[in-house]
Symmetry: C2
Subunit: 259 residues, 2 copies
């Protein structure tokens, strides 16, 4: 039997920061047919709030550490302000949604990240996606809207990469659904020339990706995003797209990632 | 057929502000048998964050107005920080919970409050409780944890009195459950003498309440709380209790409110 399509859409920082672009995006999102899941990051809003509150950014060996204050701010901004604004906007356009973080219904269980003796603080890597709970929402025509916060089995909240959360949700659902993963960010796709926004690569496969990597054409910020794309494809996700704020519109320019 | 008991518990500001008392309370709460719902306020935390961010409290005719900045802070603190901390703590003690505001699953639909030409800003009064959605969680042994934020049909988030939210949820569920409503706050119940914490009234009926009102013995802060208690009893809620942080423990002192 052909599996039902499930669309998992991740939206990034800049798209969220602008009220108008967010509303336009959510309109496109609400028009998508069939079951769908939204995952959002937080962009600069958490950093801005931290600055206004006088919290210092904690760095070790050039890497950002999420201390308790930073985690509180992230929880306020991601799981509170942004998540509930998105859900309320969706309700306003008659799309029934529920805003969640990983603690809710144990939906995203993670493990604290410690790499080579660097303790990243309240940062977690996804271990388990509770597809049973999330499916119960989908089956009732409710859109799960996730902030990128996960939870340990011991009940600690952890900051988690939003691209990874989207990829891991798509992977977990690939057993029961034909999953399509969309990453919406500020560019219209992966660029051949990082300085030329019009140089979008239509189709990016592993080999071309390796070539671009060798030539150091892929920008720093794109590396983890593309890693998540290929990771998803390798773990049974059907289709992966990268594009701009209008990615969900028919005919929008984008990069399709293939194996 | 005898209806199943559903317990609705509301916790107030001071209990939430202290991490230890909150953990102790959540332990008691998790031990309650059968389906249960938690509703929390936010206490001084939202005001403190507003002050730190330099937002001014907006008053008209001596009444607080919730402007857009204040609503953002409330959404961050109530629906974000406090709500997710409670849910994570419950997960840590193996109680499966989902944190919600009224926008989530259209669970608490409200209407903007305008009284005698005073526009209170982003303040809403409860109109509809979506028992169908909330029941679907209860039936899956998930505890709904509500922050006191509601949502209009048009998708606006509104600040809403947490006592009223708890009472309205209890009333809405009284058709299908035998509902018990618990208000946990800093005193062990309604006091005969507001200056004597030991003067808890065990049983408070409408007549005694009227007497105390006439004698002006009930403190300002207690008036809306008690109004919600009697309102709930008049709308089919079975039992209503008022007490301190240990109210859910067996044998704890409290005031039982009766018609």
């Amino acid at each position: 039997m052909k599996k039902q399509i499930l669309k998992i859409v991740k939206i990034g920082g800049k798209l969220i920061e602008n009220e108008e672009s967010l509303s336009a995006f959510l309109h496109d999102f609400s028009q998508l047919e069939g079951p769908k899941i939204l995952v959002h990051g937080g962009g600069k809003m958490a950093t801005e709030l931290s600055d206004r509150l006088g919290f210092k950014t904690n760095m070790v060996d050039g890497r950002r550490i999420t201390d308790a204050d930073a985690m509180d701010v992230i929880t306020m901004v991601y799981a509170g302000l942004i998540n509930k604004k998105i859900v309320a906007k969706l309700q306003g356009i008659k799309s029934n949604a529920v805003g969640l973080c990983g603690a809710d219904g144990k939906s995203i269980i993670s493990k604290k990240r410690v790499i080579k003796e660097i303790d990243f603080g309240f940062v977690g890597d996804v271990e388990v996606i509770n597809t049973k709970f999330i499916s119960s929402l989908l089956e009732n025509d409710i859109i799960p809207v996730f902030s990128a916060i996960s939870c340990s089995n011991e009940g600690e909240l952890f900051n988690t990469n939003a691209d990874s959360v989207a990829a891991e949700i798509a992977i977990a659902f690939s057993e029961n659904y034909q999953t399509e993963l969309f990453f919406c960010f500020e560019k219209n796709g992966v660029l051949k020339d990082p300085l030329d926004d019009a140089s979008v690569i239509d189709l990016l496969d592993t080999r071309t990706y390796q070539n671009l990597l060798n030539k150091k054409i892929i920008s720093e910020g794109m590396l983890p995003k593309l890693h998540n794309c290929f990771h998803a494809l390798e773990h049974a996700v059907s289709e992966v797209y990268l594009g701009g704020p209008n990615l969900l519109q028919k005919g929008a320019q984008h990069t399709k990632i293939i194996k």
